[in-house]
Symmetry: D2
Subunit: 366 residues, 4 copies
């Protein structure tokens, strides 16, 4: 059971609690002779780092990563890469209120009921802080993909907050770098800002939908039946905290599309390669990448922690009320964008290694 | 890589092609002394069997299962259970049209591009015929769950075909046994019949959404972070042919729900146990079952094979047209209901064994 | 847990009991476009087949293998290859004596104590009949190795029966095909024949040591630390019935060798490649193949079933006597030679695929 | 592929190089509510620590372990336990001689040939320093076994150095704590001291055989066929640096034992349980523990590094000479005793969890 490990050939194991001394991960299966240094990882961690706008938690973590193994003279050696990030701003405050009470919507109750113990400080192991490790592992995956598949790009955007969805016609990737929401639609970013101000005033929180796209993926990633590229991507995204759904390509809209408009016809491109006339499938057919852009979306539920009273019980079964007053993201989905990108990178890296194993030098596509 | 194996502790490996001599699976991790005979499996296979109404493929397969190992004097022994289903109605027809042409929306192109070879007869390994093995494995999983967790029930329903969604207020589980669609809403079943007649006349096909529910699941199934119950369920459903999305509980609707209405508050029930006041989470918090009903939905895209001309290419890259005239389900989603139930059963059985390993006799919940 | 599955990337899952309807295996991870037909497998099964001399069990099994999936028009497709061998000569005799009594030295007692049930007919799942599946899987592994690494050869020999060890100076591989013992030393084969006649007359049985050698293995198979080529080979051999020990290269003799005579010095060969001046290490250094011949030996204990009375207990704990009169090999080690070869082939195939994944096209050794 | 991970349900992933900043491991699958603090681990690390006698390397490492996660208020939480040991005495010396030359008998050549790069400092990843992590993980495994199976004990002894084997009749476990060799035979310890002095004067090194015994192991650990308790133990021991062979119970001596003396007859004990009349099998039958003492031996080849000139080549293929003058154990087998104990503990813990999963509350043996 891979309770704390993700991936098969390219895989990482994460550890650490929100308010423990550190968090980290061991990335195994990193091919040798890949250039790797701390700034290569720090670059991506900085994108996920909290406290960068008023729309994310005010916890101030530098998230400075250290490489403890697996790199020698600037190159990976094939040995596992151990990464560690110290927890700096884990306030030694009084946890009285959440110590004995189960916060609705969180893992508090289920962890306690299953394990009979829980590290309640900041959510312990179930804190979204764990996702920093995914971003770190994803940075290494990106490095591998960049080296071996130079044209491959992975990008993410927030496409919906609350009821407000971006206008696809106004999609501009460059815009995602200009606002605190990774929003590709300038007008929508302004609307979200207003909306979130209202949400905050109402002491509530907001859900979101994230879209991750990977272009330049070669045909042939993914294995048949139970190791499909899409099932691995689905699992990857649903392992992210608070994710309640995932879709590939047209996703749930495919239920309503007439069959004759739902599949992607093929013609021959000028380069002699297959050219698809649409991308309803989101770049994956029969579990295997088709060479088209891979399109995955996932939904993040509204942050469960809000400065508003909720009904719950405590560890002794008493009915009590709770209001969480700590530092939290009003829309935890915002910071899920770099996490989703990282998971996409790790899944693609894993399947890239798998294809090498399966097909080898006689690869028909090369 | 688990290309043809599903699960960890309770796990099965499937094999076989649509038009080969047989299909089958090896189910490993079946605990000993579980009563098991062929009719226990056949019962569930018969629910998935094709040719039972005009809305599913007219291929006539008895889908008669044989147990080849792992059972002795009516009880499992702990050894692997090998199941085999012979292919009877694999027509030895001329496959000329699909032999060299890639059917849009199918795995034809990607299998060929990856592996340099494909068994094109009826889709070969990528045929939905493989799902019979899942149903067979699921029957064993159900037997295990029934013995160890008597109150647990798994039920599935089709909740949408094309644009037509069932009315939740009219939901009647008994009704799912009265129509060929597993539809829980009598009026909607009639509407779907009309709708599918129209789809057929238009030489098109329809997508669908399936909902699987598991009640009576004990608290504590699922492991933290990368072996979440919901991520395993998501992967399970997306491995089913033609599935393009999956959601748990409120799913994508969670994006639009205000935070203060999105989590499930808790009170104490008359039995002294926790009682949730709603079930937005679909029975899973932090990856672990909460004791509430587990609710999963997945979308099946419209059948890609239609008796209508589509543009495609052939194995030599020529631009050609194709129309598939074989026996196909106009709405492949219908037969996905028992498959989704089976996958739910297998995931729960797997996590049930995992919880035994993790927690053991000192289980705090018992 | 891989209770019935062996291998990682090239892997097989076996099923079946000695006296059930059939035995078989599913071989997954077979690369595509490998020529494969039943005779390719039957050739190796025939070498392990019982009843071929008076020194092996007189059970008459044709061991005819059927390929049920994964092969299309003579080539593998990348889909799992399902193999089945029907049990023909499973005598429906009275099992009264072994039904309730535990045969000493067999798995009878431990299976029963663990699982609370056992298929006692011919040993059920714990019968050495299972090893036919290994030989079948090994045949596919050999096919893969032959195609991708043409110079690689795998050969096995029996090097000891009872106290009689072959003389290394008289080792002649060709001789292994001339006697019923896979003995490379003609004189010793004659001595073994006499010895086994005596063993049989004494109603006893004999142990044996098998040596498996693989030449032409490229440098670089094996992964560091926990997936060492030698640890995987050790596990592989110890999974064979009745094996009680395994050694690589000098093995246990290494304890007595002075350090300065124990390692393999290196010079440069005429081809510019490294040339080792000895092979104490058995072709593996630090868990990775060195390019030298891989040498593995394992010991098979004497057949536990003998026509002589032993003291035991029955399922109710009564003290009873037992004498097994069925058809058994007086020296079960003889038939372990092709099984050991097959396991070597499967381990090498698995690590060959793994190296492709790890190193890929930038393989420094090519 | 489990290149750096050991175990299935109880499993650990190690990382780190001999002369990097630190080494460590992540132990996953640790059941919750197990008392655990750093001294519980340090106790066992101190037994393996180098520099404690003149017979082991003079490298002075405190091997102080830190627990970074998975423990809360003195109890495990079910979350992964991350352990770190800083490298303190990694001398920043000139590695000139081993930087470009391959030390015979070491992994230098094979790592380089496979990965195209190697951290040559102190052997990098292939250094026996990695085994400290095994001992740390083993300490947690012991804690689990102690809690759940109170009568279980694991002990190890060195039974042979060079040609000198302990006298079984003089075996005294207490004696293993009185000499620097873990020798259970007082007279032999004195002889070994003399022998190793001679070895050192000869600028050579010595091999050794280690025996690990586990008493009080319940019947029923181990799974059939490919997850046998003995095959997992064999793999475990062979993953330890420099191990070239492993045997269970009688091991290789079983080849010479007549069959009628080789199996273990059974009678009924005074407690009504089975009583074996001997233990040739080493406590394992058919891959499953029998309740008897488990006996495993493994051989460690002589230390390859010696202050004496050997012939080798360098990275450019030139023929050169090398003499290693660093700090090394003249008999690396000595420090393998606590490592072998730790691997035994980890394998037993893993199979203990597996049995809980397989058999559950209906365990026939309880």
């Amino acid at each position: 059971m891979t309770a704390n490990t993700f991936g098969n050939l390219f895989r990482f194991t994460t550890w650490g609690e929100s308010h423990g001394p550190a968090i980290g991960c061991v990335v195994d299966g990193v091919p040798p002779r890949l250039a790797l240094a701390e700034p290569d990882i720090q670059h991506w961690l900085d994108r996920r780092r909290p406290g960068q706008s008023k729309y994310t938690t005010q916890r101030r973590e530098p998230d400075a990563v250290r490489i403890l193994s697996g790199v020698f003279e600037g190159l990976t050696t094939g040995a596992p890469v151990s990464l560690m990030i110290e927890n700096v701003d884990a306030r030694s405050k009084d946890y009285g209120d959440i110590k004995d009470k189960f916060r609705p919507g969180h893992a508090d109750y289920t962890y306690w009921a299953k394990y009979g113990i829980r590290d309640y400080r900041g959510g312990g192991r179930s804190s979204a802080r764990e996702t920093a490790c995914r971003v770190a592992a994803g940075a290494i995956a990106r490095g591998l993909l960049n080296r071996d598949l130079p044209g491959l790009t992975i990008r993410g955007a927030l496409v919906q907050i609350g009821p407000h969805r971006v206008d696809d016609d106004k999609w501009d990737w460059a815009e995602t770098q200009n606002n605190p929401f990774w929003c590709p639609d300038e007008a929508m970013a302004a609307k979200w800002a207003d909306y979130l101000d209202g949400v905050r005033k109402a002491n509530s929180s907001a859900g979101a939908i994230i879209e991750i796209r990977a272009a330049g993926v070669p045909v042939g990633l993914g294995t048949p039946v139970y190791g499909k590229l899409d099932s691995d991507l689905a699992a990857a995204m649903v392992t992210i905290n608070a994710v309640k759904g995932v879709e590939i390509g047209d996703g749930f809209a495919a239920a309503e599309t007439p069959g004759h408009e739902a599949h992607d016809e093929m013609r021959r491109g000028d380069d002699g390669q297959v050219r698809f006339l649409s991308n309803h499938a989101g770049g994956i057919l029969g579990g295997i990448s088709s060479g088209q852009e891979i399109v995955v979306r996932f939904v993040v539920k509204p942050t469960s922690s809000m400065p508003r009273t909720s009904r719950t019980i405590d560890v002794e079964g008493n009915e009590v009320d709770i209001a969480t007053t700590g530092r939290h993201d009003p829309c935890v989905g915002i910071r899920a964008v770099p996490v989703g990108e990282a998971m996409m990178a790790c899944v693609l890296a894993d399947h890239w290694l798998m294809r090498r194993a399966e097909i080898g030098p006689a690869d028909p596509s090369t």
